[in-house]
């Protein structure tokens, strides 16, 4: 029985009868790193006990994330959202999140999305920029304690 053999050739005395070559390509695609910036806070400003208040995505006080990356590349957008804003031990419910994205820094004619922990897929435009606007609703209780309430909205962006 013959076994195939492969050995480093140090002595190459025999002349080749024929030779042929094959070529493959080594390739890589360098992407621009993703940069996500929390550009503007979502600010409900003054609210009053018992009176829910909504800030829409096109409002001047809507939250905004600025993203730069590889032109035309697909990405996923995933949010970590609070259910309450807090002030010490006091809480202020927040929900009914709204969102939209655009290739330019305007909420006009933007593409709506629902901020959530479930990823939303999107793509950069030719400029490699994306602006994500975030709105929501706070619902102060009739007995809501006065004070400044805050929470963190986190956006994670990843290439697909």
């Amino acid at each position: 029985m013959r076994f195939p053999m492969l050995a480093a050739a140090t002595l190459l005395g025999a002349g080749a009868v024929s030779a042929q070559s094959a070529s493959i390509t080594a390739r890589a695609n360098v992407f621009t790193p993703l940069v996500v910036t929390g550009a503007q806070d979502l600010d409900f400003q003054n609210v009053f006990p018992g009176a829910a208040k909504t800030v829409g995505v096109a409002a001047p006080s809507a939250g905004r994330f600025d993203i730069t990356g590889q032109a035309n590349a697909p990405v996923s957008l995933t949010f970590a959202l609070p259910t309450n804003l807090t002030n010490g031990g006091n809480t202020l419910p927040i929900g009914s999140w709204t969102g939209c994205r655009n290739a330019t820094n305007t909420a006009t004619a933007c593409t709506t999305l629902t901020p959530s922990a479930t990823a939303t897929n999107a793509s950069f435009g030719a400029a490699g920029t994306m602006f994500v606007f975030v709105g929501g609703t706070v619902t102060p209780a009739p007995s809501q304690s006065a004070g400044v309430y805050t929470g963190t909205v986190q956006l994670t962006v990843a290439y697909l």
């Binding site: 080749a16 030779a19 695609n29 790193p33």
Partner: protein, 149 residues
């Protein structure tokens, strides 16, 4: 068949037989996919998706030597380049359906003795994008030469 036509047919077959002794086929590129500035990326030669692959098929007992030419830079748009390393152990060879892999060094030359069948050469490596690497597609040739002895 008339004798004249038979002679012509036999003559035409001779080059096919000779060139059919060993067939070298480029089957798949070595594809690192998406990489990022300043972050080296390695493809193992056993990677079933990204590793490059060249197959040598022999119809009979044969001995041949194999040599490699690998790039040290991938070429991008304009004058942009990106370092790539395909070194010792980044090429593997498997006989027929065997799962055993011989680890090869592209700077060496190898003598192969085998019967009818095929040998698969698998290519991995590492690209090292610079921290200032320009975005875009980069590519470079990997050439394998088979000399039948």
């Amino acid at each position: 068949m008339r004798p004249g036509l038979l002679a012509l047919a036999l003559w035409a077959m001779v080059p096919l037989v000779l060139s059919g002794q060993v067939v070298v086929s480029a089957e798949r590129d070595l594809d690192f996919g998406v990489v990022f500035r300043g972050v080296p990326s390695t493809v193992d030669p056993t990677d079933a998706v990204k590793a490059g692959r060249i197959v040598v098929t022999t119809p009979r007992n044969v001995q041949f030597r194999v040599s490699f030419s690998v790039p040290t830079l991938l070429q991008g748009s304009g004058s942009a380049t990106m370092p790539i390393s395909i070194g010792n152990g980044d090429i593997a060879a498997r006989f027929n359906t065997s799962s055993f892999r011989y680890s090869l060094n592209p700077s060496s030359m190898y003598l192969v003795t085998m019967g009818r069948g095929y040998i698969t050469f698998e290519y991995g490596g590492t690209v090292s994008p610079r921290t200032t690497q320009a975005p875009g597609a980069y590519a470079g040739p990997i050439i394998m030469t088979v000399s039948v002895l």
